[in-house]
């Protein structure tokens, strides 16, 4: 597989030999990856596999030790400032201001992305309506249940209508119903034309993705459409596939159908 710049610009995310070391330890090891526009791409792997490290490199939070990646066609080594305007990022750990009202949080991120006052109002109205946050507009963020905090984080990450969303374990720690509802929002977002790059430990969620990769010790050990991967490795569920490839169990997440 050869990659060049023009090729990569048609893709939402491309990684070529992407590597990141912490001291002697290689957290991401020669990662090769292509994600097309409009995909919901599931970025799977056990704890410590290197998912967050890879995402942080895509978002410009961390410099690669070697290799290169392109995000929305732009090389991360040179254009991280431009990339920031085009992506939305929800970190693994909830990281909005607990001591602001939820409306103030959204206002702040709208302002930071340079939206006008009018645009911000419009965007808050439409997003809060869609995400079911309108009633809690004037609630202090710290008082929200985790599931709603995650929705607020999604709303804030999407204030500027990014074409590409990086969601790092967006549903960690909430009940299956809340997870299901959050995934409905992810679907809607993808239907609107955005690319969603999402990590998860829940294998039921992996089934919702258009394609997934499974990572182990900094390397990708499987990549493809969930149904094909299962067929290829002769397993019934993503759960079994994950166990077989990674050697540890993902969380089944007691999916509600």
């Amino acid at each position: 597989m050869t990659l060049n710049h023009s090729h990569s610009s048609n893709l939402a995310v491309v990684a070529k030999d992407l590597t990141r070391c912490f001291g002697n330890f290689t957290a991401v090891d020669n990662l090769q990856l292509e994600v097309s526009r409009g995909e919901i791409f599931g970025f799977l792997g056990a704890n410590g596999a290197g998912k967050t490290t890879a995402i942080r490199m895509f978002c410009g939070l961390l410099k690669p030790t070697s290799g290169e990646a392109w995000v929305d066609g732009l090389p991360i080594s040179r254009d991280s400032e431009k990339i920031k305007r085009r992506i939305g990022y929800m970190s693994q750990r909830f990281s909005l201001y607990d001591d602001l009202l939820i409306e103030e949080n959204a206002n702040f991120f709208g302002g930071v992305y340079g939206l006008s006052k009018k645009e911000i109002e419009l965007r808050i109205a439409e997003q809060f309506e869609r995400l079911g946050l309108t009633k809690q507009k004037r609630t202090l963020t710290s008082e929200l249940p985790l599931g709603f905090k995650q929705r607020l984080a999604l709303a804030c990450a999407m204030m500027h209508r990014p074409r590409l969303l990086f969601l790092d374990e967006p549903t960690g720690g909430v009940d299956p119903i809340a997870r299901r509802e959050f995934w409905d929002l992810i679907y809607e977002t993808a239907e609107d034309g955005a690319t969603v790059f999402v990590t998860t430990h829940y294998m039921d969620e992996a089934e919702y993705c258009s394609r997934v990769s499974i990572m182990k010790d900094g390397k990708i050990v499987a990549l493809g459409v969930p149904a094909e991967l299962k067929r290829k490795h002769g397993t019934q569920t993503m759960e079994d596939l994950f166990l077989k490839l990674v050697g540890v169990s993902g969380e089944s997440g007691e999916s509600v159908e």
Binding site: C59, G60, L61, K63, E81, K84, R85, I87, Y89, S91, R93, F94, S95, L96, Y97, D98, D99, L100, E104, F108, F109, G111, V112, Y113, G114, L140
Partner: protein, 375 residues
């Protein structure tokens, strides 16, 4: 610019919601002003002084009187010799001893005042340290008075005397009213604490709760972030300065002889120092307490070496030289000068220049370190 305003607004929303922070901004200055102002004045009321007067002239008796009428010293009695004085000091009967040598009065005429022997009990450092400062000031004030009299009596000595008039450290505070001297210094302390600590804590808080990482995937630049984080504390520092100064002037009846504009200009230069210190602390701290203690550590150092408690001239020579690098000292001198002496810009150009230089250095270093950290 719009981005900076967005950050500033967010910062104020957070500050106004934080009861602890509000308490710190409004109540702490009042409490500190009162505690310090009173602690300082009552503390110094009863320094126990023993003396021996070998000179036995009207001038030497005047010096002894000056001590006991100052209101800061109580008499332990007159000793017959130095040995006796030392034993009183050892036994703790006296905090400070004064030995007036033969020829004191004559020495004064020649401008020779350092012959007066002061020994201070070093065990109670705060009391004896300030006691010593006051004792020295009394000696110098007396000497200056005597010399002035001599000059009036013998105008023909004018030119010769002029050269040897000792520089009086407490010139601008001749009555040695410690309150007058301390309250402007406490105002300095207050705005240092508020602007330095709160800035450091506010920046580290973003690190601690992870919002800094979230901000770094937005188009905010480090410079915008720094501006947005420090501007609110510039406002608060000025609020604090006005608030504390008003208490000083109207409650403590501290004179305000100088210019408000000059004070504002000096404060702006000084804020570079404190905001820079807060920012620097935030680059080496992971949690808010760490930032708070780091700022506090440097501030304490700066305050101890600023002449807050007693004049820097009393310190050993090499420490005295080091205090030139201490921005707190320069701002302290400017503030005391503005409050008590009514200094004008031309009187304090060196302090302004040093404050500007040191401030730019500290803030500049902080900005560079902060940008590196986020790389």
């Amino acid at each position: 610019m719009k981005t900076i305003i967005t950050i500033v607004r967010k910062e104020f929303q957070q500050i106004l919601r934080d009861k602890g922070m509000l308490r710190m901004i409004v109540a702490v200055p009042i409490i500190q002003l009162f505690i310090f102002a009173y602690a300082v004045t009552t503390d110094l009321k009863n320094v126990k002084l023993a003396y021996v007067d070998h000179d036995r002239t009207s001038e030497s008796r005047q010096l002894v009187d000056a001590f006991f009428t100052s209101g800061y010293f109580t008499s332990v009695g007159m000793a017959e010799n130095q040995t006796k004085l030392m034993s009183w000091l050892m036994e703790g009967k006296a905090d400070i001893t004064l030995n007036i040598p033969i020829g004191y009065a004559e020495g004064i005429v020649r401008g020779n005042v350092s012959d007066v022997g002061l020994i201070v009990d070093g065990q109670n450092s705060s009391l004896s340290g300030r006691g010593r400062g006051y004792a020295e000031a009394i000696i110098r004030t007396e000497a200056a008075k005597l010399m002035e009299n001599k000059r009036l009596e013998h105008p023909e000595l004018e030119t010769k005397m002029h050269r040897i008039v000792p520089v009086t450290r407490y010139y601008y505070n001749p009555e040695l009213e410690s309150k007058k001297y301390m309250v402007p210094a406490i105002v300095v302390l207050l705005i240092s604490i508020i602007s330095g600590m709160l800035t450091g804590m506010a920046v580290v808080k973003e690190k601690e709760v992870g919002t800094l990482e979230q901000l770094m995937v937005t188009p905010i630049t480090p410079m915008q972030f720094i501006a947005g984080k420090t501007i609110p504390f510039i406002f608060i520092a000025f609020f604090e300065l006005a608030f504390a100064s008003l208490i000083a002037i109207f409650f403590f009846k501290i004179p305000f002889e100088g210019s408000v504009l000059l004070m504002i200009a000096a404060a702006i230069l000084y804020l570079q120092v404190t905001l820079g210190a807060g920012l620097l602390a935030s680059t080496v701290s992971q949690i808010q307490q760490q930032a708070m203690f780091t700022v506090w550590f440097f501030l304490l150092f700066g305050i101890l070496m600023s002449g807050f408690f007693y004049p820097v001239e009393n310190m050993p020579k090499w420490i005295y030289m080091l205090t030139y690098l201490n921005p707190v000292r320069h701002f302290m001198e400017i503030m005391r000068g503005i409050f008590l002496k009514g200094v004008t810009f031309s009187d304090i150009i060196p302090q302004f220049a040093l404050l500007f230089g040191l401030g730019t250095l500290i803030f500049g270093t902080a900005v560079i370190k902060f940008r590196k950290m986020n790389d």
